[in-house]
């Protein structure tokens, strides 16, 4: 099976591009930040510098691990779903589920290893750049030497490989079991996340305006709320669709399609909700915090600067990852519908109408994802602003929110429409025959 795995990678490298990209990005982030551990362990590093370096490494390193897992899992799930026919063929030629599992996991590990090795160079550059930045801002003393050592290398390679293997295992298990995911566990998790998130957000009011830990409660609360919404998103989508008066063939078809495919769209909606919530909440809170500090006439302390750098880095990482996941899932989901588009055209839909349906679907998805992401973000931003300043909604909110929404809409609509356009180039009769 391992030989088969290697062969399938060599024959179809394009299929693994998304997995490779997320493994590469993930490994780069993990190694970049973990190399700060190596740097902090060097000779003659003073206590303040060491604290800055290890805090950043731990916080972002942890985030990075989670993100690698989610991103690789998302790309592999898509990959396995795309290859349903191939896996079915292997199964009917006598491959046992265990063999299929070994093949898919083997492929994932091999791709992840390549990604991790490719990441070493960029991670060294990234780590050096981070250290320079910390030194420029005075958070780390200028005498500290950069070092890329065993911690960075081992953690990067190990985490990426383990995440890839685990994600592949789960993806293929889901595909071979042919069972609906356990709805009850999902619902329970969703409500638990919403409850804990609500408590966390409310607890913001227990802090004083200048408490250094003030931002943690609303930030984590907002993230938890968005996770809860994300888990419930297929159901939320249906609720919204039921209340939407849609006219015209395109809108009508779009609503029908989304309702039928709500379960499969969970991944895309999750990415949208998380992206909107995390990006707009974190950026707004950071902007409020920075303004409050400069308004009070105080110079930013090293801790303030650390927090700012970390917040911005985390948001940056999340944005990149979510974009990769969104583009990949949307591309796969749209390509997968080649036959369906052909059938619509044979039933009398012009290419423009098919694009209209795809556009309407993308728009509805974006709106639902953005609305619930915004609710989660505001649940964190408002308490924070009330406690930190005298206002309720900060001035910066609108601009940041608009930018975040613009990115979400551009990625969602851009990917689906561009892919659909490409798919529509094939003649309708051929498109219908391909998957028949």
């Amino acid at each position: 099976m391992f030989v088969l795995a290697m062969r399938s990678i060599r024959q179809r490298p394009g299929r693994f591009l998304a997995t490779l990209l997320s493994a590469f990005l993930g490994a780069t982030i993990i190694m970049t930040f973990n190399s700060l551990h190596d740097t902090a362990a060097g000779h003659g590093v003073d206590a303040v510098s060491r604290e800055t370096l290890t805090t950043s490494a731990s916080v972002v390193g942890g985030y990075g691990t989670l993100l690698v897992f989610f991103a690789v899992a998302s790309t592999l799930t898509v990959n396995v779903r795309q290859r349903a026919a191939e896996l079915e063929l292997l199964r009917s030629s006598g491959a046992t589920p265990a063999q299929l599992k070994r093949m898919v996991v083997g492929e994932a590990v091999a791709v992840a290893l390549v990604g991790a090795v490719l990441a070493i160079g960029p991670a060294m550059l990234g780590g050096r750049w981070l250290l320079d930045m910390f030194q420029d801002s005075g958070q780390v003393s200028g005498s500290v030497e950069y070092s890329f050592g065993t911690v960075a290398l081992m953690s990067g390679v190990d985490i990426t490989l383990i995440a890839a293997a685990g994600a592949a295992f789960l993806a293929v298990r889901r595909a071979t079991l042919r069972r609906e995911p356990r709805g009850r566990a999902r619902t329970f998790l969703a409500w638990a996340a919403l409850a804990v998130g609500a408590v966390s957000v409310t607890s913001t009011f227990a802090f004083s305006a200048t408490d250094p830990a003030l931002m943690a409660a609303p930030a984590y609360g907002a993230i938890l709320l968005s996770v809860g919404f994300a888990l419930l998103s297929p159901r939320l989508l249906k609720v919204v669709l039921d209340r939407l008066p849609l006219s015209g063939a395109a809108g009508w078809l779009a609503a029908r399609n989304l309702r039928e495919r709500a379960g499969q769209l969970a991944g895309i909606l999750t990415s949208l909700v998380l992206f909107t919530a995390v990006a707009s909440a974190t950026l707004t809170m950071q902007a409020v915090e920075s303004d409050a500090v400069s308004a009070s006439g105080l110079r930013k302390s090293v801790a303030d600067k650390n927090l700012e750098t970390l917040n911005l880095t985390v948001v940056g990482i999340i944005v990149v990852f979510v974009c990769v996941m969104l583009v990949n899932s949307l591309y796969a989901a749209t390509t997968y519908r080649t036959r369906e588009f052909g059938q619509q055209r044979l039933a009398g839909a012009t290419p423009g109408q098919v694009l209209g349906v795809v556009g309407a679907e993308g728009l509805l998805l974006t709106v639902v994802g953005v609305v619930f992401g915004t609710v989660a973000a505001l649940a964190g931003v408002v308490p924070f602003t009330v406690v930190r300043t005298d206002g309720v909604l900060p001035d910066q909110w609108l601009g940041i929110w608009l930018a975040v929404v613009a990115v979400a809409a551009a990625v969602t609509l851009g990917t689906s429409l561009a892919t659909a356009r490409r798919v529509l180039r094939a003649p309708a009769v051929g498109a219908v025959a391909v998957a028949a």
């Binding site: 063939a249 009508w252 039928e260 369906e340 619509q344 039933a347 009398g348 012009t350 003649p427 009769v429």
Partner: protein, 261 residues
Amino acid sequence: MFRTGSRRNHDKGPAAEALRLVKVSKTYGSDDGAVAALDGVTLGLARGTFTAVMGPSGSGKSTLLQCAAGLDQPDSGIVQVDGTELTGGGEAELTKFRRGRIGFVFQQYNLLETLTVAQNTVLPLKLAGRRVDRRRAREVLEQVGLGDRLSHRPAQLSGGQRQRVAIARALVTEPRVIFADEPTGALDTRSARDVLRLLREAVQVHGRTVVMVTHDPVAASYADSVLFLADGRLVGQLDAPTADAVAERLAHLGDDVTVGV
């Protein structure tokens, strides 16, 4: 969203010839690998007739159907559906030409999985921005024997039932010509018989014109006449066919070609 406001203005009335092809040629590939799928085919089909097109694999049956139905464009020649010439243009233009003039029934049904039986049936009307007459749609579905399956999904139906939905969908727009591409190719004999009877009914009761590509002599025997195609050329015609006569003729198609009919 794409509602076109104005209703399709139906042309004066049905022309005497539902379908006319004049010297239609189509070549696939280029240079050395070029294959003439259609080689100067000329034919005319009167309104209200049921015609079967037969021939061995690779004889150009499917290409003929696709060119005649405006799904593909011939390299040269004229295609007229209901007296109107099918002219070149983008896919959008061809689609608009097909709406209201042409209905399709395919071997693989091509029903949309996300829509119910009733919704699949009215889809062409919705896409054309025409008024959706639900009572009429139900009537048509009752005619094909699916009056009690309106809110089923295609996945819940048998192959024969799905094909009957496809026929209802083709009938509901009241097209001048219905093209059927191996409509019984994936069906058992009983379901196939039902489908063929419905196609006959479409001609006799509703006055539609049906063109059916098939390789099954029994299916062809339901037609008024059979056109034989070999190597992209028309090589014969058989009126009032029986299954045996069709099979006999088909078996000797190669002989006809060498004789040069």
